[in-house]
Amino acid sequence: MTDATAAERPIRAKGALRRLAERPLALFGLFLILLVVGGAVLAPLVAPFDPSEQHFDGLTIEGAPLPPGGVFLLGTDLLGRDLLSRILWGARTSLIIGVAANGLALVIGTLVGLTAGYFRGWIGAVLMRFTDLMMAFPALLLAICLAAIFQPSLWIVAMVIAFVNWVQTARVIFTETSALSEREFIAAERTLGAGTGRILFRHILPHLLPTIIVWGTLGISTTVLLEATLSYLGVGVQPPTPSWGNIIFENQTYFQSAPWLVFIPGAAILLLALAFNLVGDALRDVLDPTQRGRD
């Protein structure tokens, strides 16, 4: 039995990393992520200005923003703040929410999926019907309503997103857990008298790790996009905390005369979401045995 379990060891970290490194797209994604993380961590050092400072000379007499170039490298926003500094600090918002919200969603999703998949019976049925219910909600509407109920702050936004996003993970985990719990080595553990908790967390969970890692990475991309959309609608992160979404929200009336105010943060959102998608997809190929070889 121990042999079988060892053979099933899900993660062969070294091999996986090596195969990942062979993929140029994944490397590109990793590079982008590192870039954003670097910008976010080093923002206090690299950002030329305080992101919230409304410079007196940051607006024209008529109140129009300044174009890129000069003192303000990427120009200023409609309040005369330095756009580059806001983008750098905004990376923090995206990453914090991306990691926190998605982490929370992953935990909820895994717990629900694991419980439902292992216990089946009425617990499983109730939990899975609940995920069906969540699937039937127009996600954005739900998120907007929730954001309105809990007056939004960075952490509330993260929780709202987590609450909307855990469903996909739960379904995937459920399917895998149901399959796993019928496997011989689990049945054997059970007859040997192992406790439920032990089986779930020592034997099943490790097998789910590849799935969790893949969904965790792909999910960050969804989360980043949802945060940006909420902030773009004005129900996300509160000003003056910069977020790439609320930069666009605040400046979009000028998108014809000052398109950089919309498209620079827009490009940032796209690149970050793209990066997590590329890495997540590569991880799926590398980690997921059922997918391997399919290209």
């Binding site: 919230s52 400072e53 409304q54 607006l59 007499i61 008529e62 109140g63 129009a64 409609l78 309040l79 309105a148 007056q151 939004p152 004005g234 129900v235 509160q238 000003p239 003056p240 929200f249 605040e250 979009q252 009336t253 000028y254 998108f255 014809q256 005369s257 000052a258």
Partner: protein
């Protein structure tokens, strides 16, 4: 003594405003043509008892009439469906003589019963009218509001063309109230036929009638050929297109597809338009009965301290805030906007003086400042303005965190007194009628300070309230000047207590297509916003 008074209390007949005061139609005006107006937001309803949005306000004015009306382009009252009126000497009884031969769009002649029905309807709780409260001075209003009566005791049909309205207290604003949309005359049979859908199938006596309405897309108004005012309207029809972004509306105006963009010139295009003489020439600028303000909750520390409120007043850089909205406003010194009667000329208010503000704060015991929250509605440009305010406050050590929420949530937080500070933008006060009293009761008076009221400062000063009541009981038009002086004192009194920071008064900039004719004042009409549809015309 009593008897003597009673015998001398004869009816005081008032001369109607002389014809010279009324609007002189443009001699070049010619009838015909169709114009297109755009709005971003949908038109919710055209029921005069319900409609209270800024885009349906003037539409309803064109479909319905009330007893009173305004001289186009001004804030001056003139009779509408009333041919004449008399006010008793004690100011408690108004007798209106109705204009004969006025017909509803359905062809029936309007009679005194219709007026009574309409006033009953708007005050009946079942109608759910947001304007019911305006009629509070009519005798019997309270019985209507608590459901113990179904008809207003104070409104009596004397004969088919005469109505007598008795008030329970003198109300100098009563004629203005009779000019509100809420006081429009509606035909009972049409209201009952349409049921709750009257707002989508309106029937009135106005210059235009509703032609077609495609929900969420467009409305067409058609000329009422039987309109009782001779010579107007000029236009054959008006097309309102809704769901149009202001920026799209402006580009279409530049293309010649739109005649008036109802939401005005979008900020991002403002500089461009004003820089081009050909376009700037078609922009009409006018005052607006609007004030944007910051409220401070005077019942909560630290804003219960007068010095703190004065310090905040001095900390705000109003010039910078008007710059953020492209200079389309003028910094405000007092609650009333400059175009409102009763505005105190020469009153300087609180200067922008950071040093003095800091000094005041430390006198108040907040040398190191404090933390607070600033609520704001989450539509552009309000969160931006809130951030400018936030930066100004940080200059004197006040750390205000912004709560940018949906309109309804801000109103709730303001009403229940949980919001220490609110930037009023998006929900700011625009006068219902051009009279100084309209800026007091609901937003600065004790009545509005109750739980759920719009007096978000929860400011309640008994002495000022008494003075306001005194001013409003001066119903005699001969004492109008005296009354305005009283109101001016009320508002300077408010400023001494500083429950608000009056920030700016928005200016209106309406743009029109080259073919639009009519006096400029019609395009910045203080009452019919954005345009007085009944009097404009096309030149081509």
């Amino acid at each position: 003594m009593k008897r003597l008074l009673a015998s001398t209390a004869v009816m005081l007949a008032l001369a109607l405003p002389a014809a010279a005061q009324d609007y002189t139609p443009d001699p070049n005006a010619k009838p015909g043509g169709t114009i297109t107006i755009t709005y971003k937001d949908d038109v919710a309803t055209l029921d005069p008892a319900i409609g209270y949005d800024w885009q349906n306000w003037s539409m309803i004015k064109s479909i319905f009439d009330g007893l009173m009306d305004y001289v186009p382009g001004t804030t001056q009252l003139r009779p509408g469906l009333a041919e004449s009126y008399e006010i008793s000497e004690d100011g408690l009884t108004y007798t209106f003589k109705l204009r004969p031969g006025v017909k509803f769009h359905n062809g029936r002649e309007m009679v005194a019963e219709d007026l009574k029905y309409s006033l009953d309807r708007v005050t009946l709780p079942a109608t759910q009218s947001p304007g019911a409260g305006f009629f509070g001075s009519i005798k019997g209003f309270d019985a209507m509001a608590d459901g113990s009566a179904t008809t207003l005791e104070g409104v009596t049909v004397v004969d088919p063309s005469t109505v007598r309205i008795e008030l329970s207290r003198p109300d100098a604003t009563f004629l203005h109230v009779m000019a509100l949309n809420f006081a429009s005359v509606v035909p009972k049979e049409a209201v009952e036929a349409a049921g709750a859908d009257f707002g989508k199938q309106p029937v009135g006596t106005g210059a235009f009638k509703l032609g077609e309405w495609t929900l969420g897309q467009r409305l067409v108004f058609e000329k009422n050929a039987d309109y009782w005012r001779a010579g107007v309207p000029y236009l054959d029809s008006i097309v309102f297109e809704v769901g149009q972004e202001p920026i799209v509306a402006l580009l279409r105006l530049q293309n010649g597809e739109v005649d008036v963009p109802g939401d005005g010139i979008p900020p991002a295009k403002f500089t461009e338009v004003m820089a081009d003489p050909a376009q700037a020439e078609r922009v009409v600028e006018g005052g607006q009965l609007h004030t944007g303000y910051i409220t401070m909750n005077v019942t909560q520390p630290p804003f219960d301290n007068l010095q703190v409120r004065q310090a905040v007043n001095m900390a705000i850089n109003k010039q910078r805030i008007t710059q953020i909205i492209n200079g389309r406003a003028i910094p405000a010194t007092q609650p009333l906007p400059p175009s409102m009667p009763g505005y105190t000329e020469g009153y300087e208010g609180y200067p922008h003086d950071v040093e003095k503000a800091k000094a005041l704060l430390s006198e108040a015991g907040f040398a190191d400042g404090f933390e607070t929250e600033l609520y704001v509605m989450n539509t552009d440009p309000n969160p931006r303005i809130a951030q400018a305010i936030q930066q100004d406050l940080s200059q004197i050590g006040i750390k205000a965190s912004i709560q940018s929420l949906a309109q309804a949530n801000v109103i709730e937080a303001g009403g229940n007194g949980s919001a220490p500070m609110i930037w009023s933008g998006g929900m700011a006060w625009i006068a219902d009628f051009p009279d100084p009293s309209n800026f007091y009761g609901p937003i600065l008076g004790c009545a509005g300070a109750a739980d759920g009221g719009w007096n978000w400062s929860k400011f309640c000063d008994e002495a000022l309230d008494a003075k306001a009541t005194e001013a409003d009981s001066l119903a005699d038009p001969a004492r109008a000047e005296e009354r305005l002086k009283l109101w001016s004192d009320v508002y300077t009194g408010v400023m001494e207590k500083a429950p608000w920071v009056p920030v700016f008064n928005e200016q209106r900039y309406t743009m029109k297509s080259a073919r639009m004719g009519g006096d400029d004042s019609l395009y910045v009409d203080p009452v019919s916003i954005p345009v007085n549809y009944d009097y404009v015309f096309v030149t081509e």
